[in-house]
């Protein structure tokens, strides 16, 4: 039965109301392990959508289902107006996929990879050569075009990967963790590439572990947790869910830790790590006043770090508020399972 709730996109006309991707109740499990437990998505054509989540949250599985690589156990989805299970070939004709692991043929050259894609998209020979040369140029790979792709650096491989994805001029592009494993410069290059895609009117579905990346690129972000969408909204909307940052004081001497803990009553204790968390917005003014106050109280920590909100905090916020009924919620920051990452400043 075709989905009645979603207006189907006629032809990639870029109107904001049409959905490039829509899904209702997607489920997938491997054996006993439920990977996706009912995912609903609606991604307007021409927008960038980020699926945010830690390893194992089900991001890749979602991409694999929506890109026809694997089939869902339940639910239904439409991509580019075509039902995933009824007409997967039509979906494939409309999408481009760049997986988490490099999908280039390492044994042949970059140029040969591009021409292979052109042939598989049934472009006429001359057109194929033109498109290949154009994309190699655009992704700064012309110089390396005659070398085997296996000799490329991580960033070059990823660029070639995306260039190959673009050969068929897809209207919807799936990028599974496009910047994982890239160095900072290559990551910023990749961000620019993704922004350029969007100005061409392409719909981008990307997955990432980094809130920063979703923040930079996406119009809408969905947080995937334990196979469910824990929250969805713009970056601003999500950040409002995140509690403020804090200052973390770590001690090596248990006695010093205990005396500091009795002194600093508003701090959260992390007895195992001998650390105290003092709520703070991270501003210079507040930092100074806290330092002055510590000085006055005669507390000397061995390490002081300023903690800014990141993905972990989003998860604390989302899992502790949305799953009170279940036992999996982690209620206190700093308690064992999801030790927040600290950012030294």
């Amino acid at each position: 039965m075709p989905a009645s709730v979603m207006p189907t996109s006629s032809r990639g006309d870029g109107s904001q109301s049409s959905a490039a991707v829509s899904a209702v109740g997607l489920r997938k499990s491997y054996g006993d392990k439920t990977v996706l437990d009912g995912i609903d998505l609606r991604i307007p054509a021409g927008s960038v959508f980020a699926l945010l989540g830690p390893n194992g949250a089900g991001k890749t599985t979602t991409v694999q289902i929506l890109s026809t690589l694997i089939s869902a156990d339940g639910g239904q989805a439409q991509v580019a107006g075509h039902d995933l299970s009824a007409d997967p070939q039509a979906v494939r004709a409309a999408i481009g996929v760049t997986g988490q692991f490099s999908a280039v043929d390492g044994l042949i050259t970059g140029e040969e990879n591009m021409l292979l894609m052109a042939d598989l998209h049934h472009l006429p020979r001359r057109e194929g050569r033109r498109v290949a040369a154009e994309l190699l140029e655009r992704f700064d790979l012309t110089e390396a075009a005659k070398k085997p792709a296996a000799t490329y650096s991580g960033g070059m491989k990823r660029r070639l990967d995306i260039a190959m994805t673009l050969v068929g001029d897809p209207r919807i592009i799936f990028l599974d963790e496009p910047t994982t494993g890239l160095d900072p410069r290559a990551r910023h290059n990749m961000w620019q590439i993704i922004r350029d895609l969007v100005t061409g009117g392409v719909t981008v579905f990307l997955t990432t572990q980094y809130l920063e990346e979703a923040d930079e690129l996406a119009d809408r972000i969905a947080v995937l947790h334990d196979g469910r969408i824990a929250a969805e909204g713009s970056a601003e909307e999500l950040k409002r869910l995140i509690p403020g940052g804090h200052i973390r004081l770590r001690f090596t001497d248990p006695a010093a830790y205990r005396s500091a803990a009795t002194e600093l009553t508003e701090a959260t204790r992390d007895d195992e790590a001998l650390a105290l968390h003092i709520p703070s917005d991270g501003s210079q003014r507040e930092l100074r006043s806290i330092l002055d106050w510590l000085e006055a109280a005669g507390i000397e920590a061995d390490e002081l770090t300023v903690h800014t909100p990141d993905l972990d905090d989003v998860f604390f916020a989302l899992t502790s508020s949305s799953s009170n009924e279940s036992s999996r919620g982690v209620t206190e920051p700093g308690s064992s399972v999801n030790e927040p990452k600290e950012k030294a400043r």
């Binding site: 870029g14 070939q89 494939r92 004709a93 042939d119 598989l120 001029d169 100005t199 061409g200």
Partner: protein, 279 residues
């Protein structure tokens, strides 16, 4: 949207379904595989070494003993004639190990996932491998054949039609073993495992009538040697090239080939279709 920075290319026409698409995509995949084989010929050449070495070993080192064992005053050149058809088929078995290895290697590459998300003919990846492998088998058989002729092998009484039939048999047999090898490659997690599981393809010729006649083997073993896939094919090829008795081996060879090809095809197809859902 009113303006776009880049003029959009016309969307590629929906690919025609059916045979033209299958042929077109399989040809593309074949080109890819041949490019691999041409860039990295070492695997193919290594596998070619085994039959050539065995040929030289059995002719020049064991030749006198072996020909004496055949009885009837056979000399070394008679043994060469006896040996070559078996080694040509062994060459095929050996070459298809390469197919198992390259399929297994290919399946670990991300590009296969990319192919699966493209609107191309589903089977083209495997068909490309099979056709490429059969072409490599033909080339390898020709190379080993050249060596055989160089050391004195002569076809005594083959007509043009028999040559054609011999060629047809080799291609059919190569196709059959390749589909099996592709299945072995698909069921192996990596190249090493594929090369191990494909061992029977080179082991079976050793216990066929390739080196010694079946009737010279222990009685309990004779049925195994006689009815395994290699022996009928070898005996048929011998008959075509040298005029020996073919008997029931002709249809046995064809039946074995068709059965193995069908088995390998369906096995490979189900493995390939399932592989995406495997984790």
């Amino acid at each position: 949207m009113s303006t776009q920075t880049a003029p959009a290319r016309p969307a590629p026409a929906r690919p025609a379904a059916g045979l033209p698409l299958a042929v077109r995509d399989s040809t593309t995949m074949l080109r890819r595989n041949l490019l691999h084989a041409r860039r990295y010929p070492s695997l193919t050449l290594n596998l070619l070494l085994t039959p050539v070495m065995l040929l030289l070993l059995f002719v020049y080192i064991f030749g006198d003993t072996m020909s004496a064992g055949m009885g009837g005053g056979a000399d070394r050149s008679a043994y060469i004639a006896y040996l070559v058809p078996g080694l040509l088929l062994m060459t095929i078995g050996s070459t298809t190990i390469g197919s198992a290895v390259s399929v297994a290697t290919d399946m670990t590459e991300g590009i296969i996932a990319r192919f699966r998300t493209m609107a191309i003919h589903r089977g083209s990846v495997l068909i490309g491998h099979v056709v490429g492998s059969v072409l490599q088998c033909v080339m390898s058989v020709i190379l080993v054949g050249v060596v055989a002729v160089a050391i004195g092998f002569r076809s005594t009484d083959a007509t043009a039609l028999e040559w054609l039939a011999a060629f047809g048999l080799l291609v059919l047999f190569a196709t059959a073993l390749t589909w099996i090898a592709v299945g072995m490659g698909l069921s192996s997690p990596n190249a090493e495992a594929a090369s191990n599981s494909a061992m029977p393809l080179i082991f079976l010729p050793l216990i066929s009538s390739a080196f010694v006649p079946v009737h010279a083997m222990p009685g309990w073993f004779q049925p195994i040697a006689e009815y395994q896939p290699f022996t009928p094919a070898i005996e048929t090829l011998r008959g075509l090239l040298l005029g020996t008795e073919i008997g029931h081996n002709g249809w046995l060879a064809v039946t074995w080939s068709l059965a193995l090809a069908a088995l390998g095809y369906f096995w490979s197809k189900s493995l390939f279709d399932r592989a995406a859902d495997r984790r």
